[in-house]
């Protein structure tokens, strides 16, 4: 009796990994190319990170170059200018992240209330368009708009005020950078949230209306909670950018007058590398930025999981 049960148990037990592969191998083969590509293009190049700890010389290669330990990282923090650049990066990037999160949500909620379909689609398209412009173009436009002969100064002058050289004012640079980035980017986030809103079960709204909830209450208690998972995903993903203040944008807008508030890590390293071929230093900065980004992403993901019970993976 006792022995008879034994085989039955085995059959019920989960298939082993081997059996699973044997059974579904075509699917695994289909997965293989992307797996291999990911290894080749994403993981193998990471070996190059060794350069951050070397004094890398192209002709000696990774295997032959001299190891210098943390020297390159020390160089990042060696100068007053580097600290200034790190602070600027943090301030600009964090402002961009926060506003880049809140504004699209508000705009999506507002646009969701627009009942005229044509108007809604029109606005959606219009605010999404700048997303496709290159920063070189947008920076050119900003120079014209904010220039001394630009439209903004035209308005100021017509009120009898003195013209302001906006792009030369250190005190205004961060605001200009953040707002122009927001203008360029919020359309994209908005579309994501609009998509999330359209996925909310309509019967919830009907039920709420039956219970006498007004639009505001519906928004607060149905729409917002409904898109919360999406908000958390976007927030978590964007936190990885906390040291990316946007090279393209800053590089096209800043000048020596605005170095003090506008020079970010990326632009500083760019100028630094003009002295030439500083592969190791560049790698060290990249690794430093990725490291901080990774830590913040992991932490925020943990928090999101604990607080909102949301998992991406």
């Amino acid at each position: 009796m006792k022995k008879k049960n034994q085989p039955v148990k085995n059959v019920i037990a989960k298939k082993t990994w081997k059996q699973e592969v044997q059974h579904n191998w075509p699917l695994y083969v289909l997965l293989l190319p992307s797996f291999v590509l990911a290894i080749i293009f994403c993981y193998v190049p990471m070996g190059g990170l060794v350069m951050a700890f070397q004094n890398y010389k192209p002709w000696l290669g990774i295997t032959g170059s001299e190891f210098v330990g943390m020297e390159n990282f020390r160089q990042i923090f060696a100068f007053k200018e580097s600290y200034q650049a790190i602070i600027n990066t943090l301030v600009i990037a964090v402002s961009k992240i926060i506003l880049g999160l809140i504004v699209p949500i508000i705009m999506a909620l507002l646009l969701n209330e627009v009942k005229h379909v044509g108007l809604k689609k029109g606005i959606q398209t219009l605010v999404y368009l700048p997303h496709f412009l290159s920063w070189v173009t947008v920076a050119g436009m900003l120079r014209d708009i904010l220039g001394l002969d630009g439209i903004v100064n035209g308005v100021l002058k017509s009120f009898g005020m003195d013209p302001v050289f906006f792009l030369g004012e250190a005190g205004m640079f961060r605001q200009i950078a953040v707002i122009s980035d927001l203008w360029k980017g919020f359309g994209f986030g908005m579309i994501v949230y609009l998509a999330a809103i359209s996925n909310i079960d309509q019967s919830l709204y009907e039920a709420a209306e039956m219970d006498g909830a007004n639009r505001w209450q519906q928004t607060m208690y149905i729409t917002l909670p409904g898109i919360m998972p999406m908000i958390i995903v976007m927030a978590t993903l964007s936190l990885g950018n906390v040291l990316n203040a946007g090279f393209d944008q800053i590089f096209n807008l800043y000048s020596p007058l605005t170095y003090s508030t506008g020079d970010i890590i990326d632009t500083y390293v760019y100028r630094q590398s003009l002295v030439n071929g500083q592969y190791s230093f560049g790698t060290a900065v990249g690794l430093f930025k990725s490291g901080i980004g990774l830590i913040l992403t992991v932490i925020s993901y943990r928090i999101a999981y604990k607080v909102a019970g949301y998992r991406i993976f």
Partner: protein, 550 residues
């Protein structure tokens, strides 16, 4: 089962695709070519070269490209040498990256390649992949070229290590300096004369701003356009450098020159520049100079002149051609080049000299230095007015003979051509070698009958673009005001670490003073900081190097 078969064939197909991009074999022909009785290489000898693309090289004809065009064909025909470009870079950073990749072995290092930076030269030498050509220069460089190179010994400084020479400068020649380019019609309208010193300069820019030089009754003009978004020494157009030199003499910003003790000193920290900054700050506050200079690059700053807003800029003579469009906003505009202002004591103001655009280096395994010099000397035929190239390189491209007249403007060709292929810019060099950039202009201006191709070309220029040609004549009279940067080798150790930070500091303080964001006395603090944060050490290292070449 069907699915499994399909998947299998898919995998196989993609495996073949990936496998297809394998490495190609390496063929190294180190054997030297031989010349036949006519002095031609037979069989045809191939020299592999690198090239940074030049946007002014014109258009290729149908079916032509960098390796198959009239100029490469001619070299095969005349010399039996095939110049084959195996490494091609777009802009400067792209080209540098490709050269560095060639050092890692993932791209082939060509036989002959131009290098555009002293750090790159140092890397090349350190890598041991480039050829020591000390003896080849002695043996194969033609006499007439040796004479040229002997005039510019400093071009060898960065190329020399432990007494060995690892390359040559690209066609060294003292390039013309910048001149002061003015709106003559504005000067005339206000009854003014071109300024010759700082005070007169101030009077003119004040008048250009406040006295309505274009006579349209609007306050829409100002005096001087310059660029202030980098160090205050652009070296080509929209340069404020002579205003600084008016107070600091040889020690204008961004240059290493000897002080009274014969030691090299970095110009930007010279106290004379403080006075210049004070002056600029005053002018800026008065609106007499370009108000957006700090956020504008040199080319865009010069455009202020083209737009009819600014009345003066400092630039190389060719830039007169670039701003000629000013007549589209001001039909009566007259552009005229003047010498730069003088120092108050009557000495001239100085600016940076450019002697060569890059250097040529050679692959260690390259065995045909003689062939290379044959080709290089052949390119020089135009400059000397000898051999194959009397009027230019190729009839119908850089010159044409219409009737019995030689013409250089492609619009006057028979038939007229727009944007023709430019042979002189298509070679391993960026430009046609020249002997004396401005002497020809002076000769023609003083009435010499043009004979050589270079002279005919210049004479034609006096007809098609007289203002520009006059500009070259002015530049020619002031060639002795051009000072080569005496620090001319790879960055020193401390420079590699601290230089950018010092430059950031310099750009910030200069611009902040001009814009009145910081008092003029902040300059003293800057000099102190500059020395303390690595500048002193760098100066020491620079002078240690200088002693080895002096």
């Amino acid at each position: 089962m069907k699915l499994k078969k399909a998947v299998l064939s898919l995998v196989l197909a993609s495996a073949m695709l990936i496998g297809g991009c394998g490495g190609s074999g390496k063929g190294n022909e180190a054997a030297a070519g031989t010349k036949n009785a006519d002095g031609k290489y037979d069989p045809v000898l191939t020299i592999k070269v690198a090239k940074q693309l030049d946007e002014n090289a014109g258009r290729y004809g149908d079916g032509e490209d960098i390796n198959k065009n009239p100029m490469t064909d001619l070299a095969v025909e005349k010399l039996g040498i095939k110049m084959e470009t195996t490494l091609l870079g777009g802009d400067a950073p792209n080209y540098d990256t490709k050269l560095r990749l060639a050092l890692t072995g993932s791209e082939e290092l060509p036989d002959v390649f131009p290098v555009y930076g002293t750090q790159m030269i140092a890397d090349m030498i350190e890598s041991g992949r480039v050829k020591d050509i000390t003896e080849d220069i002695e043996k194969y460089m033609p006499e007439r070229m040796k004479e040229i190179y002997e005039q510019f010994p400093q071009t060898y400084y960065p190329l020399t290590k432990d007494g060995k020479i690892y390359g040559i400068a690209c066609a060294p020649c003292l390039t013309e300096g910048q001149v002061m380019i003015m709106r003559q019609d504005w000067l005339d309208a206000l009854g003014l004369k071109a300024p010759t010193n700082m005070d007169e300069f101030e009077a003119v820019i004040k008048a250009f701003t406040e006295d309505d030089p274009d006579g349209n009754g609007q306050d829409d003009t100002y005096g001087f356009a310059y660029s202030g978004n980098d160090i205050y020494n652009t070296g080509w157009v929209a340069d404020p450098v002579s205003l600084f030199s008016a107070y600091s003499g040889k020690h204008y910003p961004g240059s290493w020159q000897e002080d009274e003790n014969g030691e090299l000193m970095y110009g930007s920290i010279h106290e004379g520049n403080k006075e210049a900054l004070a002056r600029l700050a005053e002018w800026h506050a008065n609106g007499w100079i370009f108000q957006e200079a700090a956020a504008t690059g040199a080319w865009d700053a010069m455009m202020q002149f083209t737009e009819g807003k600014a009345g003066i800029f400092i630039g190389r003579p060719w830039s007169i051609g670039s701003v000629a469009d000013v007549t589209s906003v001001a039909p009566d505009a007259v552009i005229k080049a003047y010498p730069n202002i003088l120092q108050d004591n009557g000495d001239p103001t100085y600016q940076a000299a450019q002697i060569n655009d890059g250097w040529l280096m050679f692959n260690k395994d390259f065995a045909n230095m003689e062939a290379f010099f044959t080709y290089y000397d052949w390119l020089y035929d135009y400059a000397f007015g000898t051999g194959d190239f009397k009027y230019g390189y190729l009839e119908g491209y850089d010159y044409d003979i219409v009737g019995d007249e030689v013409v250089f403007d492609s619009k006057l060709f028979d038939p007229p051509v727009t944007d023709p292929f430019m042979p002189g810019k298509s070679t391993v060099l960026k430009n046609t070698p020249a002997l004396k950039s401005t002497q020809t202009f002076a000769d023609i201006a003083s009435g010499k009958t043009p004979e050589t191709g270079a002279e005919l070309s210049v004479a034609a220029g006096f007809v098609t673009a007289p203002e520009m040609s006059e500009g070259y004549v002015v530049a020619h009279e002031h060639m002795d005001e051009l000072l080569p940067n005496l620090f001319n080798t790879e960055p020193t150790d401390t420079m590699k670490k601290n230089w950018e930070q010092l430059q950031t500091m310099e750009k910030q303080i200069y611009t902040n003073i001009v814009y009145g964001k910081e008092p003029v006395d902040a300059f003293d603090k800057f000099v102190e900081d500059w020395l303390a944060q690595g500048g002193e050490q760098i100066t020491k290292e620079v002078n240690e190097w200088y002693k080895t070449v002096k």
